[in-house]
Symmetry: C2
Subunit: 187 residues, 2 copies
Amino acid sequence: MAKSSVSFRHFILGLLTRRSMSGYDIRQLLRSLGWLLGNPSFGTIYPALHALLEDGLVTVEVVPHPSRPPRKIYTITEAGRQALKEWVAQPPPSSIGLRAFIMHLILAGDATSDGLTGHLRQRREAVAAHRSALEQAIEGLGEQASAGELVAIEYGLAIANAELAWLEGKLNQLSTEMETNPSAEAT
Amino acid sequence: MAKSSVSFRHFILGLLTRRSMSGYDIRQLLRSLGWLLGNPSFGTIYPALHALLEDGLVTVEVVPHPSRPPRKIYTITEAGRQALKEWVAQPPPSSIGLRAFIMHLILAGDATSDGLTGHLRQRREAVAAHRSALEQAIEGLGEQASAGELVAIEYGLAIANAELAWLEGKLNQLSTEMETNPSAEAT
DNA sequence: ATGTGCATGTAACTGGTTACATGATTCG
DNA sequence: CGAATCATGTAACCAGTTACATGCACAT
C-alpha cells in the first residue's frame, strides 16, 4: 500500500474508469494524445496492467476471439476506484514534470471540477516559483552568463509565462462557471 | 564508441569547456539553473564524471586541500572536445523532451551561432508538428472527448504556441544580428 | 553540541524504452 | 507476396533518483 507516484500505472487505472479496455486499446488512446504523454509502448502498458491486476485494482475478462489472439479486457474494481480517488486527491509533489502533471490534469478534469481547480492552483504556485527562480538566476549570473545559458533561461521564462497566463485564464473561467452553475459535474 | 544520447554526460562535458571544475562545482552550477534541468544530484554527476574519465574525454587533477577532502578538478581533453563537437552538431533526435533540448540549447548557444539557429529551427519544426497533432487530436475526439482530455490538450496547445512564438522571435533576432555583424562569436 | 557547508563517493531501486518472440488476418 | 494491423507478452538495458557512508571545519 501507499506506493506514491508511479504515474503511468495510476493514469492507466484512471482511463479504465471511462470504459473497460484491453492493453491494446489503451495504447491507441494514449497515442491519440501524441507527444503530450510521449507515447508509451507495450513494454510500459502490459506490465502496468499486470501490476494493477496483482494489487486487485482491476479484473480481467478474457474474450477469446476465434482466431486472432484473445483480447484481455480490464475492468476497474471498487478497490481500484478508491485507490485512484486517493491518488487524484493527493497533490502532485511540487516540482513535477509536465508529463506527470498532464496525467494528473486529465484525471482531475474527469472527476470533480473542485479537484480540477485545486490542481490548477497548485500548478500556478509551482510555475510562479519556478519563474522567479529563473529571474533570480538571470540576475545572479548577470553579465558573466554564457550565451547559451541566457537563451535557455529566456526560453524557460517564455514557457513559464505562457503557462501562468493560461492557468490564470482557465481559473477565471472556472470560477465564473461555478458562479453561474454551482453544482457542476461530479463522479 | 558512438553511444548516442546520454544527455547529462555530454552536458557535463560541455560545461567543462568553460572552465575546469570539480563535481561539486558542477552541481552548484546546475542548481543555479534550477528547475530547467531538474537539479541532478551527486548520484548523477559523479558517475558521469567517472565515465568521462574512463573514456579519456577528461582528465583529473587531485588538488589536496589540507584537511577537507581533496578536490578533484576535471579538465576536458582534446578527445573530449572532439566528442562534444560531434554531439552538439548532431540533431537532437526529434521528439526530445524539454530538459534534453535545453541542454542542447545551452551548449549550442555557447558554440557558434550557426549551430544555435540550426537547433532553433529544428525545434520549431518539431513543435509545429506536435501542435498540429494536438489540433488533430482535438478534432478527432471532437464532442466525445472527456473534460480532462480537453483541458490537457488546451494546456499543451498554449505551451506549444508560446514556444513557437518565442522561437520565431529569436530566429528573427538572430538573422538580423547576422546581417549587421556577419562573423559573430565562434569557439 | 548541533547543524550547515564543503567534498567525495556507492548501492539499490524505479520508471521507462527497446528489442525481441509469436502468430493469425487483411489489404494492396 | 509482403506489409500493416490486431494482440499479447518478456528480458535486457538505461538514465536518473534516493538514500546512505565518510569526515573535517566553521558558525550558532
